[in-house]
Symmetry: C2
Subunit: 372 residues, 2 copies
C-alpha cells in the first residue's frame, strides 16, 4: 500500500448503501466508489481481512453491487439479447454469471443474473451503468419492458464458516441451498433474497435486502449470529480474489476486451437462435482468432505492493507486449502474483515475461489460475 | 469536513487522467471518482482553494470529464435524439449545455456538447456512462454512427486571471474567444481544443488535450505561464459552485428528476420537429405540472460542514417535504447555503423551511440563485 493516500471527499453524490453507516461504525478505513456508491475495500488491512475470510467468516457491505431490474412482457427477450450466454435453460431461483458485450463484442460488464420470475430479472452488476445500456437497447428496439434500479442491496457473508452463521440466523435449510441458487423469503419483517454466491471462493451467501430501512438491523443480526464464530467486518478482498482468479471489471477487462481474451469462452454460445448483441462481432473475432489472453503471473521479486495502475509487461526482444491488470502479494504462495494480458503465443504455463513496475524490473512466469 | 475520512483504495480500475501524476506532485489531498477516474476535489482545503479561484487563477485536472465521441453519417441525428434541447442551430466550434433524459424524462446526465464538424461531436459528460447509453440507443435504432471514448482529457484554467495566463501561454487571441466557443489547434506539438468554459462562474478555459502522453507537459506549461499570476493547483470547488448555483449531476439531480424540476426549462424545446428521447414523457409532465422544484436555501445556523448525504427538509406542519442536495458554508455571505428540493408551493423567495441536519434542526429560507 502506498504511504499516503488521498481521502475520499464525501458528498451526497457518492451514495451510501443501507449498511454503510454500520460499516463505518465497525471501522472501515479503505473505500472505493462502485456504481456511484461508497464500497468498503478494507477494515484493518487487506492482509488482516484476508486471513479472516480464509479462516473464519466475514460480513461485507456490497451494496454497491446494484441491481438492474427488468420486468414486463419482453423481459426475458431483452436479457437474452444482453448476453452471449445461452439463457434458454435459466430457471427461476437460479443465478447465472453473464458476460455482457457491446455491438463490437467488447466487455461492458460481467454481472450475475437472478431470475425471480418468468419475466422478472435482477442484473447484479459490476461497475458500469448497465441501467442506461439496458434502457437504451430496450427503447431503441421498442421492447415492452420496465427497467429500474430497485431498492435492493446485497450484504455478503463469506468464508468457510458462512454456513454456520447462515444456519444459525436463517435456519438449517440454508446449508442445502445449492451454489448459484437463491430463495426469496421474509425474515423478521425484512424482505430478503438469499443466494449462495459471492465474490470469493471461500463459500458463503449474498443476502439481498429489499428494503433499505432495515440496513442496520440486518447488519447487526448477521454480526450477532456470527459472534460465536468470530465474524469480522471485511470487504471484497483483493488478495483472495487474485489467488482465486476472480475477474474484476475495470481491472481485468474493459470495453476493449472480448470474452475470449479473458477466458470466458464457455459463456459465449454463438449457435443460439437469437441475435444477441455483439453476436456478429464475436463470430468474426472467433474466426480470426485472438491476439492476446489474460493469464496468471507469478513474479520473481521481493514482496511489493499491489499495482495502482496497469504495469507494462515486456519481452526483452519484443518491447511492451501486454500489461499487468491486477496483482497482490500472496500470503500462501509467499510470492507476488497477478493477472495480465500477454500475446497468445506466450500463454503457456511457465513462459517467462518481464514486469516493468515502479518497484523494479523483474521477470515473471505464466502460472495456472486459480493460483491456489 | 468530517474529522476522519476513509482513504480511497487505489487500483488500476480507478483510472488516472494524464494530469493526475502532476496533481499528486502538486499536493492533492482530496479526491473522488468520476466516470471511473480519479478526480481531485481539493489541494489545501476547499476553503483555501476557493479563495484562489475567486481572487486569482487556478489549474484543475478535470480529466474525469470524459468525452463521448460521436461520428458517422447519422451523428447529428443521434445527438439531436439524445437531448430535449433544440440543436438545429448548433454551429461548428460551439459548445452547448445539453440536459439528457431517458424515456421517462428523468435526467441521466447534463453534459456540454462540442460540435467539431458536421457529423463530429464530443459529449463532455458528468458522472454516468453516456457511452453505453448512446451506444445502446444507436444500436437499437440502427443508426450509422461510431461512438467511442477518445483519448481526450480536459485541463481547466479558472479564475479572474485566467485570460492573462491563457494569453501568455497561447497568445492574445484567446482573450477574444467567446463564451462557449472553442478553437482546435496544435500547440508546441500538442493537439488541443481550447474552449471558453469550465465549471465555475469565475471565468476561464477548458483545454482539451487530445493525446495523453503530453499530460505532464501541458500541466507544467500552464503552471509555468501562471507563475507570475500566482496560479494555484485546485479543483472543481464545492463552495464556489454552490454560491454560483452550478448544478452537480448525482447531487442536485438524478434519474428521478425531470428538467423542469431543476430549472432547465429553457433547454427543453417540445416544439421541435423531432421525437427526441423523452419528448412524450416531458409533454405529459409539462401538462400535468411539477410537484417540487430545486431552490436556493440560506440556513439560519452557526457554521456547519457540508452535507455528506441528502438532508431531509421538513415543514413543521407537513413533515418531510424535500431534501438538501448540496450545501456549503459561504465565505462571502457568512452563512451556510445550499440547494434543495421543496414543494412547488414553497418556492417563493423568503419561504421558511426546516433543515434536519446531523448538526441540528434549524430553519432556512428560500433564496435566489446564484447566491452572489
Amino acid at each position: 500500500m502506498a504511504a499516503k493516500l488521498p481521502v475520499l471527499a464525501p458528498v451526497a453524490r457518492t451514495r451510501k448503501s443501507p449498511f454503510y453507516a454500520s460499516a463505518v461504525k465497525a471501522g472501515v478505513t479503505g473505500v472505493t466508489i462502485y456504481n456511484h456508491m461508497l464500497l468498503p475495500t478494507w477494515f484493518d488491512t487487506p492482509e488482516q481481512d484476508y486471513w479472516a475470510i480464509m479462516n473464519g467468516v466475514t460480513c461485507w457491505d456490497v451494496g454497491g453491487e446494484r441491481q438492474v431490474e427488468v420486468t414486463g412482457p419482453d423481459a426475458f427477450e431483452l436479457v437474452r439479447l444482453l448476453t452471449p450466454r445461452n439463457l434458454s435453460k435459466h430457471k427461476i431461483g437460479q443465478c447465472k454469471y453473464i458476460p455482457m458485450v457491446n455491438q463490437d463484442g467488447g466487455m461492458i460488464n460481467d454481472p450475475v443474473l437472478l431470475r425471480l420470475g418468468e419475466n422478472h430479472f435482477w442484473i447484479s452488476i459490476a461497475d458500469s451503468d448497465i441501467l442506461l445500456w439496458a434502457q437504451g437497447i430496450a427503447l431503441g428496439k421498442g421492447l415492452d419492458v420496465k427497467i429500474t434500479e430497485p431498492d435492493v442491496s446485497p450484504l455478503a457473508i463469506q468464508g468457510p464458516k458462512s454456513d454456520d452463521v447462515g444456519a444459525k440466523l436463517f435456519g438449517e435449510w440454508v446449508r442445502d441451498l445449492k451454489f448459484f441458487w437463491f430463495k426469496e423469503l421474509e425474515f423478521e419483517g425484512m424482505p430478503l433474497v438469499i443466494a449462495r454466491s459471492g465474490w470469493s471462493k471461500q463459500g458463503g451467501f449474498e443476502v439481498y435486502l429489499r428494503d433499505s430501512q432495515y440496513g442496520a438491523k440486518l447488519w447487526d443480526m448477521v454480526m450477532d449470529a456470527g459472534a460465536e464464530f468470530d465474524i469480522k467486518p471485511a470487504a471484497p478482498n483483493s488478495i483472495e480474489r487474485v489467488e482465486s482468479g476472480l475477474l474484476s471489471y475495470g481491472n481485468d477487462m474493459d470495453m476493449t476486451n472480448n470474452p475470449y481474451e479473458i477466458g470466458l469462452d464457455k459463456f459465449v454460445d454463438l449457435k443460439q437462435d437469437i441475435d444477441f448483441i455483439g453476436k456478429f462481432a464475436l463470430q468474426k473475432i472467433r474466426a480470426k482468432g485472438i491476439k492476446q489472453k489474460l493469464v496468471g503471473l507469478k513474479f520473481n521479486c521481493d514482496p511489493i505492493p499491489w499495482n495502482e495502475e496497469f504495469w507494462p509487461i515486456r519481452s526483452n526482444s519484443r518491447g511492451v507486449i501486454g500489461k499487468v491488470t491486477s496483482s497482490t502479494y500472496s500470503p500462501q504462495l509467499k510470492a507476488n502474483i497477478g493477472l495480465g494480458f500477454v500475446p497468445i503465443d506466450m500463454t503457456e504455463i511457465g513462459t517467462e515475461v518481464m514486469i516493468d513496475s515502479p518497484y523494479g524490473y523483474f521477470s515473471a512466469e505464466v502460472h495456472k489460475v486459480p493460483f491456489i
